[in-house]
Amino acid sequence: MRIFTIAGGPHKGKHINVTRYVKTAAGVEIKIEHNVPTRPGKQIRWVQTVSSNRGFSVDCKMLTRVDPFGHGGAVNTVPLPAVPGICKADDLLPFYWTAADLAGGAGPGLSDAPSVPIPPSGRTWTQFVTALAEVTGKQVHHLVAIAWGYDRMADGSVRVAVIRTPSTPEMRNHGQALKRMYPDYKYT
């Protein structure tokens, strides 16, 4: 559907491929595959951050958060030492899939179907930065990233944002969220 190619380094020319990107009743569904091989001593992992003008961004007092980070329900169960408060993650690692997710059959692609309730007025915008990274110990090296998202309007409709390469400020926010929430890791 849409291919984003790795620009340099040992994986130059390999890519991520957005194979599904469709509007749902209350949000959007995305599926991304990749063809990047795993090198000895390294892991290929997805890293995703999310920003919004409502919901968990407001409740957690963080415009941009490593996904998932919120409160309530069975997802947000693990408190992060670096970010005290009501919001919790799903594990202590900065990656999208937890070890339990992977053991349960998730991956190697990324699958997400975010949604939000109808806002009382205006719109709720939600924007994601999703990156494929090569992980060596505590070093997370970004290979390629995309930005995507959607708006939920007060009339209930959904407007899907175009998939694109993230802007420099978006990548800066992405990196800052990772550093703040999971400071034990180094990000490049």
Binding site: G72, G104, A106, D112, A113, S115, V116
Partner: protein, 179 residues
């Protein structure tokens, strides 16, 4: 010609019976029960929810012969599958269901339940999560009849991942809620 018609009728009847049988199997493959936080010798059931960390339990059991898949509560496909029918002493009835929430990480995630095994829900009736929760005011108690409803919608994801769909309800019992 007449013989051919009889054969066709027999085939149709057989396949209809098979379909009905499959439907019945699906319908009875799960059982759901509310487990209160206490019982009394006289058979009363209590649910104590004084502290926000307290919960009662709903157990969904695979009573069929085959392993089944059920959506986990941590994804939107399974989040709202448990609800309750609550009835006050004056006969007022409400549906207690989870409120809509935002989903950021959300993918079809199921749990394999072998025959005789369970999916367990810890229910707090936290008003931030549950709509129309029959909670008494703090320091008070309230008697309600409760019936748990476990309903999993038939969806393309359920079909694709062979996740159970259908509806089962627990026995209706009277509980005293303490808060």
């Amino acid at each position: 010609m007449k013989r051919a018609l009889i054969v066709v009728c027999l085939l149709l009847t057989t396949s209809a019976l098979r379909a009905l049988s499959a439907q019945e199997d699906t319908a009875v493959s799960l059982a759901v029960r509310i487990v209160p936080t206490s019982f009394t010798e006289t058979g009363n059931r209590g649910i104590t929810l004084i502290d926000p960390s307290q919960h009662f339990t709903v157990v969904v059991t695979n009573v069929g012969k085959d392993t089944i898949r059920l959506w986990r509560e941590s994804c939107s496909w399974g989040y709202s599958n448990l609800s309750f029918e609550a009835q006050d002493e004056d006969g007022t009835q409400v549906m207690v269901a989870k409120k809509q929430r935002e989903w950021e990480k959300n993918y079809p995630d199921w749990m394999v339940i072998p025959p005789g095994d369970h999916l367990v829900f810890e229910v707090t009736f936290d008003p931030a999560t549950w709509g129309h929760a029959p909670l008494p005011k703090p320091g008070q108690q309230r008697t309600v009849s409760l019936r748990a409803v476990y309903e999993s919608a038939d969806s393309k994801e359920a079909k694709a991942n062979k996740v159970w769909s259908g509806k089962v309800v627990s026995p209706k019992n009277t509980y005293t809620l303490f808060r």
